[in-house]
Amino acid sequence: MSAAMNQRGGPARPISEPDANLVIRSVSKSFGGITALSECSLEVKAGSITALIGPNGSGKTTLFNCVTGFYRQEGGTVQFGDTLLAGLRPSGVVHLGIARTFQITRIFKKMTVLENMIVPIRQLGLRTLFTAGIKGYERERAEGLLEFFGIAFLRNELAGSLSFGQQKLLELAAALMAEPKLLMLDEPAGGLNPVMIDRLGAYIRDLNAGGMTFLIIEHNMGFVMQLCEPVIVLHRGRVIASGTPAEVRANPAVLDAYLGD
């Protein structure tokens, strides 16, 4: 169950398994009269750092919520590897190997940093559910991840007392505890100062080198363009462009909808 740890404490390359691509086909979602997603189709290839960009209201977070089970999509399919994510509850989606962070950083503020790391540990049955305390290897994994993000010294602090940037890193570290194959990040650079953003980019590259797939919603174009490929552009609930950063940047439809003046 526990992945081997590489020297840095980050998750190691998953042992060979079929590439788990995330395939979204013709997914729609409306709220009342408002269409958030309109037959949206895209694919996130295993091992990539894919960006999802677009104006606010284009459906990016709605898409995240449909994939992760927070919303029930209307029509269309979402497939991860061989499994159809139909009607799965969010915790079920996590157990399939997809973890996410939230646009507004969401951590358990009244728990300690270490406790935040323990919550996502997979319970394999009633026995593991009721055993006291943290198992040795679980603690090692949590410590390793906290070490990786440079926040291990905060392990016993209340999560609510951490600075904004530290909270963001904690949210990311905790998401990794669930040993995901795909990590979906919703505006991870939001509110971070430029040096922190660089650091975040380095972490993502590091994890990606170890086999982690990323799908990232971001407005920070500097961050996106030098980190991600492909870049998928959403507008009014559908994909209007997809390609390398350079291609997308020059695409007139994209400039019109989002990037240009």
Binding site: P55, N56, G57, Q103, S163, F164, G165, Q166, E187, G190, G191, L192, N193, P194, V195, M196, I197, D198, G201, H219, N220, M221, G222, F223, M225, Q226, L227, A246, R249, A250, L255, Y258, L259, G260, D261
Partner: protein, 254 residues
Amino acid sequence: MLVHCERLVAGYGSGGDILRGVDLDVDTGDFVCLIGPNGAGKSTLLRTISGLIRPRRGRILFRGKDIGGRRPDLLFRDGIAHVPQGRSTFPQMTVWENVLMGAHSLRDQQLARRGLARATELFPIVVDQRNKAAGLLSGGEQKQVEIARAMVTEPTLLLLDEPTLGLEPRAARIVIQKMRVLNELGTTILLVEQNARMGLSAARRGCILELGTIKLEGKGDELLNDPQVKQLYLGQAAGVDETGPNGTGPGGGL
């Protein structure tokens, strides 16, 4: 000297000191951008100036008068407007009603009318979307409404806390542009921005706040081009609005 902070020390509740001796001067008509790491005290400094927090030690002078500990509503009447971080529109009121709220404290009807006219001129969105519920606007549009609301009293000093947070690049550019216009028309602006490059290129002067004190000050473009500043505070990746149509932008592009 419009604002003079001398060895300012402040913090929250029973917690430790966040500001640990801030010395800052802002001239009338200036446009200063505050950058720095998280937890450095940037928001805390704005809140201390606008009266939301009482200084523990040190002085703040506004127009030569000590305003330390003065109530925020009185400071608002004195001419300090503060647009806080995050969303502060009244989502269920219309755009026009939101902006009207800015005139709430003005007793003089003429002043109010003039202020409202001014705000409308500067922010056409107030007219274009006047009857729409503010909560239905996009992030950038709401931020414009918030600034318009703050401008109704024609404040001398405008404090802005991370106005581009969460905004898409185009909206962020528009908001920054509006600030430039406001400053050119005479409003003194103190801006806190995580988008350091964007903030520094729009402002005239920059200040770097770290661990509760001002570490560095200088002209906006000087700081932008300083190699040490770039390394320590500006990062390698360009900021939010860096990619215009040709991949170049105010910050020097990628």
